[in-house]
């Protein structure tokens, strides 16, 4: 069994390197830039493509990775307050996954683990793992994922990839209004017999544009000047309000 799979893999890899063959996987996005403008209310990104031979398709959209702090509340003198915290490293700010059939039918757990298919298989680790017992670690991890899901930044369930006549596929991923900015990657995997045989990764930029971008950049690049402008604007607005009020 294992031998046969290995041979198959070798054959496939060999197949991929043959120059004359048609590409086994071609894919693209409806848009490579998600522009956050003044009227931004979330955005749907369509991913589509074609496969040469029948197989399973898994699509993953990942945001840039960063550190993420998780806080836990407990009751102190009758009041609920944050009393413990944990920082995780390499946490994707956004994660969405879609596939043409349930992941556990597509591949074995080890393969899914390896590819980080599904939110529960993401490999982020605590910054300070020494003081964690395994049971507690699991709770913190699940809490991080749960809260990200509630914020709409991690997919709650695997989305659907539609495959048409074993050749064409498409799916869409929704980016909510609170979507973090940065360079995302849209990864499309082709699996056959439970193994990834081909993959394609396309960058997807999520960025503020126009006045939103200008204001944000202003606030972060020149914070002191931004503060002054904020104060002056308010002073002017208050003065105009007074003039308008007086005339009446």
């Amino acid at each position: 069994m294992r031998g046969r799979r290995l041979i198959l893999l070798v054959l496939l890899v060999a197949g991929l390197t043959l120059p004359a063959r048609a590409l086994p996987l071609v894919a693209d996005l409806s848009s490579h830039l998600v522009a956050i403008t003044t009227g931004f209310t979330g955005s749907e990104v369509l991913m589509f493509g074609a496969i040469e031979e029948p197989g399973d398709i898994v699509v993953v959209v990942r945001g840039p990775e960063s550190e993420q702090r998780v806080m836990r509340k407990s009751r102190v003198a009758g009041i609920w307050m944050n009393t413990a915290g944990m920082v995780y490293r390499d946490v994707p700010r956004f994660y969405a996954i879609a596939s043409n059939r349930p992941l556990d039918e597509i591949a074995e757990e080890s393969v899914l683990q390896n590819q980080e298919f599904g939110v529960s298989r993401l490999r982020f680790s605590p910054k300070d793992s020494a003081r964690l017992d395994p049971e507690d670690a699991g709770k913190w991890r699940r809490a991080l994922i749960r809260r990200k899901q509630e914020a709409g930044l991690y997919s709650r369930s695997t989305g659907r990839v539609a495959i048409l006549s074993d050749r064409l596929f498409r799916t869409s991923v929704y980016l909510p209004t609170n979507v973090p900015t940065g360079i995302y990657s849209a990864e499309i995997y082709l699996l056959q017999d439970g193994q990834v045989v081909n993959a394609q990764s396309t960058p997807l930029a999520v960025s503020k544009v126009g006045i939103e971008a200008d204001l944000y950049a202003f606030a972060y690049d020149r914070p002191a000047l931004y503060g002054l402008v904020a104060v002056l604007t308010a002073l002017m607005a208050g003065w105009f309000a007074h003039l308008a009020f007086r005339r009446n």
């Binding site: 914070p223 308010a234 309000a241 007074h242």
Partner: protein, 303 residues
């Protein structure tokens, strides 16, 4: 119509924000209070992160106190000397307050402190308003004798005695400085002007004549909230200009309407109503502190 707020990084309905600004402006027009103490909790309620709500609200307060101060200035009801001492204390207090704010934010405790401050202050203020209103309501029927102007206590023994001509006071400058400092801290942490704390202290502790209290407190609030806005923007990047502008526009419209209506309504009834409203907000926030949260875990700010 949705608008994406660049610093808060969420989309909110424009008309909801304008409406909120108008309603608070309307209430402040009727009751003659800033309304920041109602605005910040409401902003948090519609999903603005507390740190951004507080800092942006400070910016809004600058505008509303500027528009209010002119009328008092024209009538000569601003004691600039007293105001300057209050501002001095206010600058120190608000600078300390913003530093404390940054520290608490890093520790992940800022939401709790904001919430606790609100519950405490709203309960006190709401209770006081209700009490005052009820007393005035009763007084309308049975005539009560007016109390003494002010009572001499230990505070009148402090050094640095200064004459405040307009307020007709000869008191230690440390006293208004200290009051300014305390209100500055409150202003920075809660994003309010702090008139609801400042005004009673000026009347009851300093013994200032009521006529100059409002104008002088507005004068102090302009400078202190401007300092808070500047520091919050430059240290924490939490001032959202788009949000502030919408609140200001709504607030201006509301305040004009409220001011006209307020002149026609009986003061004590209004005070009772506002007292009840303030207590209701305090109860709502207090409930959140003691009720078991749906999820004990939450995501903190990025380290």
């Amino acid at each position: 119509m949705q608008i994406y707020l660049p610093i808060a990084e969420i989309s909110v309905d424009v008309f909801l924000l304008l409406g909120l600004g108008s309603v608070i402006g309307f209430l402040s027009g009727i009751f003659g209070v800033g309304g920041g103490f109602l605005m910040t909790p409401l902003l948090v309620l519609i999903g603005i992160p507390p740190a951004i709500a507080v800092a942006t609200q400070a910016n809004h307060v600058v505008a509303s106190s500027v528009s209010g101060v002119f009328a008092h200035w024209r009538r000569g009801n601003v004691d600039f000397k007293m105001g300057a001492v209050l501002v001095g204390g206010g600058f120190v207090g608000s600078t300390l307050g913003v530093a404390l704010f940054s520290l608490l934010r890093e520790m992940g405790q800022i939401d709790l402190v904001i919430n606790l401050s609100y519950v405490t202050l709203l309960s006190i203020v709401g209770g006081m308003m209700l009490w005052e209103g009820v007393r005035a309501f009763l007084r309308r029927r049975s005539k009560l004798a007016p109390g003494k102007l002010h009572i001499h206590t230990w505070v009148h023994g402090l050094p640095l005695k200064t004459r405040f001509r307009k307020s007709r006071l000869y008191i230690s400058a440390l006293l208004p400085f200290g009051i300014g400092l305390m209100v500055g801290v409150i202003s920075a942490i809660m994003g309010v002007g702090g008139a609801f704390v400042l005004v009673p202290l000026m009347i009851y502790l300093l013994g200032m004549p009521t006529a100059v209290v409002i104008g002088t407190s507005l004068f102090q609030i302009i400078f202190v909230s401007a300092n808070v806005t500047f520091l919050q923007a430059s240290q924490n990047q939490t001032v959202d200009l788009a949000l502030a502008m919408l609140l200001i526009v709504g607030g201006v419209i509301g305040a004009q309407l409220g001011g006209r209506l307020g002149a026609r309504l009986p003061g004590d009834t209004l005070r009772i109503l506002l007292g009840i409203l303030v207590l209701a907000v305090a109860a709502r926030l207090g409930f959140e502190l003691v009720a078991t949260p749906d999820d004990l875990y939450s995501l903190g700010i990025e380290p």
